[in-house]
């Protein structure tokens, strides 16, 4: 069991190495585009696009979505959407190289797949709401925000991780 564990962790980058690489990438992103990395913005753009396509009137009436609709600039035509496509491709390649491609539900042996999926959906839902309210997610607000020394980045980082710590005990069964 223990050797298995070691085998597994070896396949991943040394965390500091990953961190330095990610930092350099973030720096490069700032250097080229003047803004940081992000993820949840792409989901927002997709939602805007989807709603706009399905029910245009509805999207234009919605106070929030209509902020992101303009005639000449299609919501899908967005930096973050393309970045997200890149994330999917990059992660796929990395997973393929290390032999981690596998369709599965990852969960603690103490809980069922169903329970894990319900919690995942709930988490996603909350993250969707929270990322809009907080104007960015862990990568966009917290990581990029911290790198550019934005106060909002530090607030996001502290509140996200702090709250997760506080609630960790309630959810321990899911993970340990």
């Amino acid at each position: 069991m223990k050797s298995n564990q070691k085998e597994r962790s070896k396949k991943y980058f040394n965390p500091y190495f990953g961190g330095v690489l990610l930092g350099l990438l973030l720096l490069l992103t700032f250097y080229i585009t003047g803004r940081g990395l992000g993820a949840s913005g792409a989901v927002k753009s997709t939602v805007v696009a989807a709603v706009h396509t399905v029910t245009p009137d509805f999207a234009e009436q919605s106070h929030y979505l209509s902020k992101f609709i303009s005639d000449d600039n299609h919501p899908m035509n967005n930096w973050l959407v393309f970045e997200t496509l890149g994330i999917l491709a990059g992660a796929f390649l990395s997973g393929a190289l290390s032999g981690r491609l596998k369709l599965k539900v990852e969960h603690s042996p103490k809980i069922t797949s169903k329970r894990r999926l319900i919690f995942a959906a709930m988490g996603g839902l909350l993250f969707g709401i929270g990322s809009q309210l907080g104007r960015g997610c862990t990568s966009g607000a917290a990581l990029s925000g911290m790198a550019s020394l934005a106060t909002s980045g530090f607030i996001a980082m502290i509140t996200i991780f702090g709250t997760a710590f506080v609630f960790a005990y309630l959810f321990r069964k899911n993970w340990i």
Binding site: R35, G36, G38, R135, G136, C137, G140, A141, S144
Partner: protein, 204 residues
């Protein structure tokens, strides 16, 4: 392995420390003398009275006129929409917000272009951008726009067109109703710089 981590940690600390002891850099670095010298020689900072007139008539929102003469002179007569910053106050921090921007083309003018160029020089040295000087100043403004001299009939069509524009502009500035035909729109625009310095919309 532990040694390696200690070394890396040391590198981080040293990098942070070096940054700490480096002399502080100003937010907006002073423009280098050579850059100013270059801009003066290439005369990229001058804008003709014709172009100023056209932009005023078109109510160009990207134009900001700054009168660097004394307040009395400004109150006595100034160009439409001009703000007053007397030359001796040009460095006053009150004006930083107005001058330190990249959205508009700021055009300094005085009676001639000497004081305006001095104001331009100081603001430019402070690192501000998109600054211009109206060539010839108000004296030239009156000589060209308000009371243009008619070119001899032998002059080129371009000159005659320019004269007609000036004449019409002059009528406009005297409160008359005039249909102002534009001069060649291509060269009527001020040197539009390629780099549009917009703050990017970012976020997650």
């Amino acid at each position: 392995m532990n040694l390696k981590y200690s070394l890396l940690a040391a590198i981080l600390v040293i990098l942070g420390f070096v940054l700490l002891i480096l002399p502080a850099k100003e937010q907006l670095p002073e423009t280098n003398p050579e850059v100013l010298q270059y801009e003066l020689n290439e005369v990229t900072h001058f804008i003709s009275t014709d172009k100023v007139a056209e932009r005023i008539i078109n109510q160009d929102p990207t134009l900001l006129l700054i009168d660097v003469r004394m307040a009395d002179d400004y109150l006595n007569y100034s160009l439409p929409g001009a703000e007053n910053i007397p030359l001796k106050e040009i460095l006053h921090p009150d004006w930083d917000d107005l001058l330190n921007q990249t959205d508009r083309d700021i055009v300094f003018y005085s009676n001639a272009d000497v004081y305006a160029e001095q104001a331009w020089m100081f603001a430019r040295r402070k690192g501000y951008k998109k600054l211009f000087v109206m060539q010839g100043g108000l004296n030239n403004w009156f000589a060209t726009i308000i009371q243009p001299t008619e070119p001899p009939e032998t002059s080129s069509t371009k000159e005659i067109e320019a004269y007609q524009f000036r004449k019409a502009a002059g009528i406009y500035f005297c409160g008359g109703q005039a249909i102002v035909s534009e001069v060649n729109p291509q060269d009527a625009l001020v040197i539009t710089r390629k780099n549009k310095k917009t703050k990017v919309e970012g976020g997650c």
